[in-house]
Amino acid sequence: MLETLPMLQQIPTKTWMPRLSFAPKNTAPRGDTLVVVFLRGAADVLNMVVPHGEDAYYALRPTLGIARPDNGRKMKDERVVNLDGFFGFHPNMSSLLEAWQSGQLAIIHACGAPDESRSHFKAMELMERGVDDERGPASGWIGRHLATLNTGNSSPLRAVGMGTRPQRSLSGSVPVSALRSIADFHLGGDVRALQQMRAALSYVYQNDELGQDTLSIMDTLQKLDPLNYQSPITNYPDTEFGLALKQTAMLIKAEVGLEVSAIDLGGWDTHFTQGSLNGIMPNLMKDLGEGLAAFHADMADHMSKLTTVTMSEFGRRAYENGSLGTDHGHGSMMMVLGGNVDGGKVHGQWPGLEDGQLIGPGDLAVTTDYRDVLSEVLVKRLNNQATSDVFPEYRPVIRNIMK
């Protein structure tokens, strides 16, 4: 006959959840809010921040290359926007020029991970876990950061993954919630029905951290009146990415305890007709540039307590393929936007694009490990000294990207 279950709550809950338990080792006051933007699909960083001072770039990319800033045969908006005489923005990223000129945007070129598999899925996983190979903790680097640092903040919105699923980088022992749209975060029904539903949910989730967390977020967000939120900045792109940034801004301003927001901007896997000035890749750059610029403007009064980092799993092949796209490469690039970066500067050692300088099948070499950049943000801006817990078996080199 029927076996009875001991307790509803004892049907698999957190014992089945692959969460790694860390007791917070350190106590420190809250630092900056960290926004991590992951460009999924391997962004073509050579066309985002173009090494226009390098002849090899133009030889390798006869079709995709973006004209030098001083190329008189091209219209102004078809040329690289010069940054420092050697590097320059793709014209679709020119909206970031203001942040650059104000010294709040730093670029770290030829930056990335040692993994050379050129597999999106493997590279992303390793990077989000902050490890070099399959060994090492299954949790994510942001999850471990949150788990090893006690900031006295118990907000259910301490870490939020924008989208339908929380990013791998967030997994760890601290509850994290995925948030697609703040406005969607309610149960519906009239007040009476709502009370009944909330009571029932609270009962069935009484021993489940994630459920309790979701209920708290629901309550917190209900008070925020999200439908009536007006941003003073109206030029956020009308995209998922723009919405995610706007909602991040809203949560920061509402002071709900947000410490980390993870945002994805996908679609960078452009093997076929990626486009130089128009097309898939340039459209993504526009979304990225305009989104970050709007966020920067919207958060002007909060910049001293805000750091935004962009990253991608790897870069693309230096030479274009026969179908006007680029195949998987290696070296990538990061951008750091914030009130305390050593900005207006391209950091990192440029390895060059000449034959003997490229690695593997023709890829930009990595001269700065991505963990150097993240570690510096952790130590200097988030008050977390325990980088060896966040990036096990890695010894970061501090590159003075942050003040």
Partner: protein, 493 residues
């Protein structure tokens, strides 16, 4: 009941014209809506869990069937899927014309009026058909495998021109070989116009090859990322695949090999010297990849992960991989190992959104045309053929936890009958067993949804909680039904 009155009349006409009435008996039984006398057969938790892996959710009649013939026989019955009568469903799908069309015909449909409806029609029909099949087909294991391979050979339907090519891929690649032979499956996928355009191989031409498809063919479709290939193998396979493309003019959308775009010369992939031989160069590599020991291991691991546990036991993977090699990729034989021997090692898995929605609908015997599920599934992050990258929707529990809100919203909307053209009849379902007491009704509901009733304390606490929030007796049952679907227990299969 899944059919409208019109469908019923259609079926009745067809049945009366049929000499083989007996063969159609299961369909008739469903039409007359007679649930088994015992509303939901008592199953051990092990069998209940197994049934929820083999199907998209234990329907009442499937519980009865499993209780009747036992798990091993049930698995065999499901593996022999062609012998299972699915007439009711076939009739329901017969109005979806694009499902049976050639690529060229489907393209013509999308171009008729240049308006949004026609552009979306093949996508909508394919999505709705997939949903109805998963919800109502009696060939549940077959449909579970179709879902598995659709992830394994993922194609993002919104990428041009996949919006009209995927229908053909679904029919001629995935559904045709889902319980057939893996070599045939990967062969068909490699010649599939939808796959070739999704992974840019239609643009892979001599000179500077496009590596995209070549890489994913090895990394995701056969060997796996640790399967022992190098960057050079990717480039060499890409050279073999130059000229594999899709017709662009007459009979648009068919596979074509463009000899003039094929890279000349010898190639070397995974130590195999491939002589210059046009289209058959890549075909030789595919033969090699399909039955490679790394492929056997990779496919067995993924299957074990789907059916058994996120971290499946190594010995089952090994045995399944050996069977894969011994039978030269016979999918049924591999599945037999995984199900008959592996299900004993089953671990809870967090339901993916589709599985969550389907199991609720199936267990509560809900009537729907499926259209209303579009928005909730988008919000939960698993709309059919909508995963952009070629790795397919993730299959581990941790990937799906953390976004409970849309699941809760769905549960309450479903029970309040607020989803358009979607109706459950909780009372009719409970009437079969009801003694009129709320407590026994809650017990019935719980054993229906979770496989077994709650212990008395938990159940009574739940009823009290909802009561004290001001719910009437009738509201209480509704709220509890929704909360059970929203509960942590129901999120796990």
């Amino acid at each position: 009941m899944t059919l409208s009155r019109r469908d019923f009349l259609k079926l009745a006409t067809l049945l009366s014209a049929s000499a083989a009435l007996n063969a159609c008996a299961p369909a008739l039984r469903r039409l007359t809506d007679d649930l088994p006398a015992v509303p939901w057969s008592p199953l051990s938790m092990a069998d209940f869990t197994a049934l929820n892996r083999i199907t998209f959710g234990a329907r009442v009649e499937e519980r009865a069937r499993l209780a009747e013939i036992g798990l091993a026989n049930y698995i065999e019955e499901q593996l022999d899927y062609e012998a299972i009568n699915d007439l009711t469903l076939d009739l329901q799908l017969s109005t979806f014309n694009t499902l049976t069309m050639s690529a060229n015909e489907i393209e013509a449909v999308t171009n008729q009026l240049f308006d949004g409806y026609d552009r979306e029609r093949p996508i909508n029909e394919l999505r709705q058909a997939t949903f109805l099949r998963q919800l109502y087909s009696k060939r549940q294991l077959y449909e579970v495998m179709v879902d598995f391979w659709s992830d394994h050979f993922n194609i993002f339907i919104e990428k041009e021109p996949c919006f009209y090519l995927k229908t053909v891929d679904d029919r001629d690649v995935i559904r045709k070989h889902a319980l057939g032979n893996f070599r045939d499956l990967v062969w068909a996928s490699a010649h599939s116009p939808a796959m070739l355009t999704y992974l840019d191989n239609q643009a892979n031409v001599k000179g500077t090859p496009n590596e995209n498809y070549a890489r994913e063919l090895m990394e995701l479709h056969t060997l796996g990322v640790e399967g022992g290939y190098s960057q050079n193998d990717v480039m060499q396979l890409a050279r073999c695949l130059t000229g594999w493309s899709v017709k662009e003019h007459f009979w648009l959308g068919d596979f074509v090999f463009k000899q003039d775009q094929h890279e000349p010369g010898e190639k070397n992939v995974l130590g195999l010297a491939i002589q210059e031989a046009g289209q058959s160069e890549a075909e030789q590599v595919i033969e090699h990849l399909a039955l490679h020991p790394s492929t056997a291991k990779f496919i067995s691991t993924k299957l074990a992960r789907r059916f058994i546990a996120d971290e499946p036991p190594q010995e089952i993977i090994e045995k399944a991989a050996q069977t894969f090699l011994a039978t030269k990729g016979d999918i049924k034989s591999v599945l037999r190992v995984i199900l008959l021997e592996g299900l004993a090692f089953v671990q809870p898995k967090y339901k993916r959104p589709l599985n969550f929605v389907l199991s609720a609908l199936r267990m509560l015997n809900v009537e729907t045309d499926g259209v209303a599920m579009h928005d909730p599934l988008m919000q939960m992050g698993q709309m059919y053929f909508n995963w952009t990258t070629p790795d397919g929707y993730p299959d581990t529990s941790d990937a799906w936890q953390g976004n409970l809100m849309p699941r809760w919203q769905f549960a309450f909307e479903l029970i309040r009958n607020e989803l358009p053209k979607t109706k459950h009849n909780l009372n009719a379902l409970l009437d079969v067993a009801s003694t009129g007491s709320l407590h026994t009704d809650v017990d019935s509901l719980t054993s229906l949804l979770l496989g077994t009733p709650l212990d008395r304390l938990t159940r009574d606490g739940m009823i009290d909680t909802v009561h004290s929030a001001g719910a009437t007796e009738e509201e209480t049952l509704q709220i509890i039904a929704a909360s059970l679907i929203a509960s942590p227990a129901f999120q796990w299969r």
